[in-house]
Symmetry: C2
Subunit: 399 residues, 2 copies
């Protein structure tokens, strides 16, 4: 049998595709600091496991395809606290933000349709588009401009009759950029003018440091266009729970996706029970976590600024930054760090940058770092990168 062109064409995630090298490094006895993946070391609030431990139904039964009522109510209440009013039937629980993205894309794009995205962008969007035969078209933002949008005309140039949606990540992944209110208004205008779905991934909403954050959910006039992608993976450091959600005021969208949701039956029951309990976590938890990431961001910046010929832009949110390395290829460097290098038995895994760009050639000497480790580990990891750069054969020291 032959595999499909669609699966052959699926983009391999830069976040995980080097995992076999990391496994080999660990098998060889090396300690690997993972800066490649947004897996926080922050403790999941105990309410998650407590609620699950208290569950004692005799049968682990199918749940509602929309999601468990208690979780739906918790999500609604969380959004109300953010000034957004979604009814229960405007919320759909999904298996992580990943399934939310897949469902949103399938619901607004036919094969050959296009989704506009701002590069660099969360690479896995591309994999979901690939399996749905949807094409992504990129508007480039640049490190030297702090990843700012370069104006409405630049965005509209990319739009064709096949463009059906825009995906916006705010705060940005992999850039850590937080959109300005003006940029959000620009995006909203373009979505309305071209009647596009506006798929907004705000899963890092709680992680913004010292700049104002405004949700697309409170931008007026977007009721018809807006599809919010949610996940509690990062919010409550519960990545392995795989609980996300889709929120939209568009009744047609909500009705149509329910057919697919019914076909896939339901989301995991126990994780939904834990997830609902997470929303009872005191607000101080999120404030504490925010403060901790802010410290890490500051630690990261300080550590990075010690590395010669490495540049980076200061992230304002999420827990990622893109850095520019003085190397021939960030991917080769990443593999070399895992295969060939160690500093006292320790090394670092990074996510090569080109996987976050659509435009060929961009990002080859960049990498995404996730500052998900505690400050001491983070300093150590960045120092190891610095040591690696000194011995890596492909390091280019500018004249």
């Amino acid at each position: 049998m032959k595999v499909s062109d669609r699966i052959s064409g699926v983009f391999a995630s830069p976040i995980r595709k080097l995992s076999p090298y990391a496994e080999a490094a660990k098998a060889a006895g090396k300690k690997v600091y993972h800066l490649n993946i947004g897996q926080p070391d922050i403790q999941t609030p105990p309410a998650f496991l407590e609620a699950i431990r208290a569950f004692d139904d005799k049968v682990i039964a199918y749940g509602d395809s929309r999601g468990d009522t208690q979780l739906l109510k918790a999500v609604r209440s969380y959004y109300r606290d953010w000034g957004m009013d979604f009814d229960i039937d405007e919320i759909t629980i999904t298996s992580g933000g990943s399934e939310a993205l897949l469902i949103a894309m399938m619901a607004v794009c036919d094969p050959g349709d296009e989704i506009l995205v701002f590069e660099p962008f969360y690479a896995n969007y591309l994999s979901f588009a690939d399996v749905l035969n949807v094409n992504m078209k990129a508007v480039t933002t640049k490190a030297e401009n702090g990843y700012a949008l370069s104006g409405e005309a630049a965005v509209e140039t990319v739009i064709t009759p096949r463009t059906k949606a825009m995906i916006v990540t705010n705060p940005g992944n992999p850039t850590g950029r937080v959109l300005t209110s003006d940029e959000m208004d620009l995006i909203a205008r373009v979505a309305r003018r071209h009647d596009l779905a506006l798929i907004v991934d705000e899963v890092y909403r709680e992680f913004v440091y010292g700049v104002p954050f405004r949700s697309f959910g409170v931008v007026p006039g977007l009721e018809d266009n807006l599809i919010l992608v949610d996940s509690l993976s990062k919010r409550y450091s519960a990545c392995g729970a795989r609980i996300g959600a889709l929120l939209s005021h568009n009744a047609e969208f909500n009705a149509q996706i329910m057919k697919y949701c019914q076909a896939r039956l339901c989301c995991p029951e126990l994780e939904q029970i834990g997830a609902a309990a997470l929303y009872s976590t005191p607000k101080s938890y999120l404030a504490d976590v925010n403060a901790e990431y802010r410290r890490r961001r500051d630690t990261l910046e300080k550590a990075l600024s010690r590395l010669p010929n490495v540049t980076f832009s200061s992230p304002q949110g999420a827990f990622y930054t893109m850095i520019k390395l003085p190397v021939d290829s960030a991917e080769k460097f990443a593999i070399w760090m895992l295969e060939q290098f160690d500093s006292h038995g320790e090394t670092v895994m990074i996510a090569p940058g080109d996987g976050f760009y659509l435009t060929p050639g961009l990002g080859k000497d960049e990498a995404r770092l996730a500052y998900v480790l505690n400050c001491a580990d983070l300093e150590r990891a960045i120092a190891i990168i610095g040591e690696g750069l000194k011995t890596y054969p492909g390091t280019k020291i500018p004249a």
Copy 2:
């Protein structure tokens, strides 16, 4: 914004689409016996919750995209007991059999490609094909022939250059039919001759009553073609856990799907821990459950044979049967039973049969019954259907 043609065209599951009527009936105080959905009332083995309760990691972290090692090993061992030898890297854990089906289809079909299926078939296959823009083509099997295959020529007639796969459900859902060894050989020959993927859904493997069962996994010569879809939803009555798997000896298939699996990150961690523990359940559990379903099958048949003008074929496996009702429309009857009818405050929900057929016009007076209730409830539910048929305005009594 507009929704996509793909989502508008998604087939609404006959198993769940009438759920709002059932909710309304319950809200009005009626008790509803659910024969529409394969949700067993059998207790989930306690090992599931015990293992999860013992979990006390501080962080609910992402797992491996292929699945947790302990669960992979448990699945491998389960298959070895059935005489099938799959390496760990030939197994991929999925979010239920549903995700396994979606991934299998995307991996072997491009938009416009075709999958051959034997109707009546598990309706949700069609919804997954729809979102992937894959067309299903049906070979009809008939109640009056006990849903037997009518020969190799009839199968090959449906094959076109766009046919890339066959889906086979054994034991059958909705028919309860168990394929004969000759039929399996026929299917295997056709798959090899036309180089088709053979997607085999054997999730009811443990539920076969008094006839021999042979897995496609032991049919020689299928190493290149076979994709096994697995789920422990029914095996261990853990539908809400949403843990399934894909198994294949085709290395290219396994490698290609991993890119998609990495994009969706991982399956829920706690449910995987519980799932791994389920496989330590003593074999006597499965034997006991098998005996219980056999009793229910016999009870159902006896109860159905008391209803005048209702015909059915005797199921040999799974826990479904298709019945033919003396009504104008099984869907109208199903809705009427929920909206208009009750017997001492009780009614029954059934799944209309036409949703299990592709060929227009077939199944309009049929329904799928799931015999997932205990014998007393089952007898009562069938009696209620009988009472309903006596008063339903669309009942047609043959002259």
